[in-house]
Amino acid sequence: MRRVSPRTAQRIVVSIMWLLAAATVGTLVFIIAFILVHGVPHITWEFLTQSPVSMGRKGGIFPMIVGTAMVAGLAVIIAAPIGVATAVYLTEYTRESRITAVIRFGADCLAGIPSIIFGLFGFVFFTITLGMGLSVVSGALTLALMVLPTIVRTSEEAIRAVPYAYREVSYGLGSTRWQMVTRVVLQSALPGICTGIVLSLGRSISETAAVMLTAGSALGLPSSLFDSSRTLALHFYILSREGVSMSNAYATASVLIISILVLNVFAYWLMHKLVRKPR
């Protein structure tokens, strides 16, 4: 058999690769388009601002939007300070040691745990052991734990990217370490930190399994943090599975996808701000 010349081999392999890549991107675009094409025509102002009528067959998704904002928002409000503080400790207040190795290992492992395990844990710990019931708080605490590693990781990267000279100047002007961290380092790293927070918000919004076991599925508008609330992702799941109303299911999914899209674009924009910042 004659050997194929390297150039021909390259041409063949690279075309296959391009084909694979095109198929991949095509599939992804298809998924988003499939949902949006079926869903967007059904999104109206009433759909966004009204409560569901007759089990979600008619009416809107207002309580789910509020519920999602409460659960995901609270999760991020809880996780962000903890995550940023962890990152500050790891970067500014200590040297690499066994302790930082343990903290990093903890965060890395937490990042890999599947959401259903978080759900099981949240269910037995927050809902039952701490007596919070199926509620916004249980869901938010569970999600906070889930997104914590992302916030730690992105904040750490953002803080490390702050040029060392900034710190030296700050010290030179006589500030304490805490002043240096809060006024110089965190200010400069803010876009990067926000990127992580926004991405975590996106992840909280799209989570289903963990929320199902901790926040419950009540249809009404939650009147306090201890009420159960159905999030958009879970509402979509229930609508599509129960076959209640396909048009409302598609519309709910479209609202979800559009929110995720907006958050991602926002995060991307923030990240670019970080990159383009003068050094």
Binding site: A69, M70, I197, L219, S224, E242
Partner: protein, 268 residues
């Protein structure tokens, strides 16, 4: 830099507003109704009408399943439990059950399937895996794909109680977690057979006669269609005032009419 911190504050402010909006109107005491996913849609409908008539009162309906509902009531996590099967002997002492409606279990197949009637024994064979080909029960040659509900579902437990007896549902049966999912699957698969709430069967499925009796609300009332089960509202002792008021609404003529129009059979 300044931009960034303004951005962050805006984000936080927006979130707080969103949360605050949710916290604003606190209600006195929402009646918590938890349990069977088969009853859940009907209870949500009743709750919706009830709250529309009594805007100051709240009702919170939660799924989870019949058994979970009973437990929630036992642990005071819920005022009312929804149970879509008969109480087991060991449960009977603990709770006060009230029948709010009756529901038939419809046996559904794909419209392309030529089988129109089955006996209870044949049904048992189809779900236990003893009958593997539709030709054994008068259909066309082809495999049988039974579709069951998940362990713990009231619909499944009623089906096992009414049809299976001592036999076990085959491990090969596909398991779906809701009436709607069973419906979608049977709709698309000509080899499938499933069971679901009579009230939720749509025109895209064909119901099978069981022991010669047509599955209709009338036959459930007459007692000739045997695959029927109660929908129960379960409380621990006497319910409190708020719960009792919702209870009364459900059993009122208006509540019962709502259930009837959704395809269920009145409690009496």
């Amino acid at each position: 830099m300044i931009d960034g911190s303004i951005m962050l504050r805006l984000c936080l402010a927006a979130l707080l507003v969103a949360i605050g909006a949710g916290c604003g109107n606190s209600q006195s005491h929402a009646v918590k109704v938890v349990g069977s996913t088969s009853i859940q849609p009907f209870a949500e409908l009743l709750a919706e009408q009830y709250v529309a008539k009594n805007p100051t009162l709240g009702v919170e309906v939660q799924g989870g399943g019949s058994t979970a509902g009973l437990q929630a009531v036992a642990n005071d996590l819920a005022d009312i439990g929804m149970c879509s099967r008969l109480l087991k002997a060991e449960e009977e002492g603990q709770y006060t059950p009230t029948v709010i409606a009756r529901d038939g279990l419809a046996i559904v197949v794909n419209p392309e399937n030529s089988v129109e009637a089955l006996t209870t024994e044949q049904l048992q064979g189809l779900f236990s895996g003893k009958i593997q080909n539709w030709s054994e029960v008068g259909g066309e040659d082809g495999p049988v794909r039974p579709i069951t509900r998940e362990e713990g579902s009231g619909t499944r437990e009623s089906f096992v109680h009414l049809v299976m007896g001592k036999e076990r549902i085959s491990r090969r049966s596909l398991t779906q977690e809701s009436n709607g999912a069973v419906k979608e699957l049977v709709k698309g698969d000509s080899a499938a057979i499933g069971y679901m709430s009579l009230g939720l069967v749509g025109p895209e499925l064909r119901m099978v006669r069981i022991d010669g009796v047509e599955p209709t609300a009338g036959n459930v009332i007459a007692g000739t269609y045997k695959l029927a089960r109660p929908f129960l509202f379960v409380t621990k002792g006497t319910p409190d005032v708020d719960a009792q008021q919702f209870f009364d609404y459900v059993l009122s003529d208006e509540g019962q009419q709502t259930l009837e129009s959704e395809g269920l059979v009145r409690a009496q």
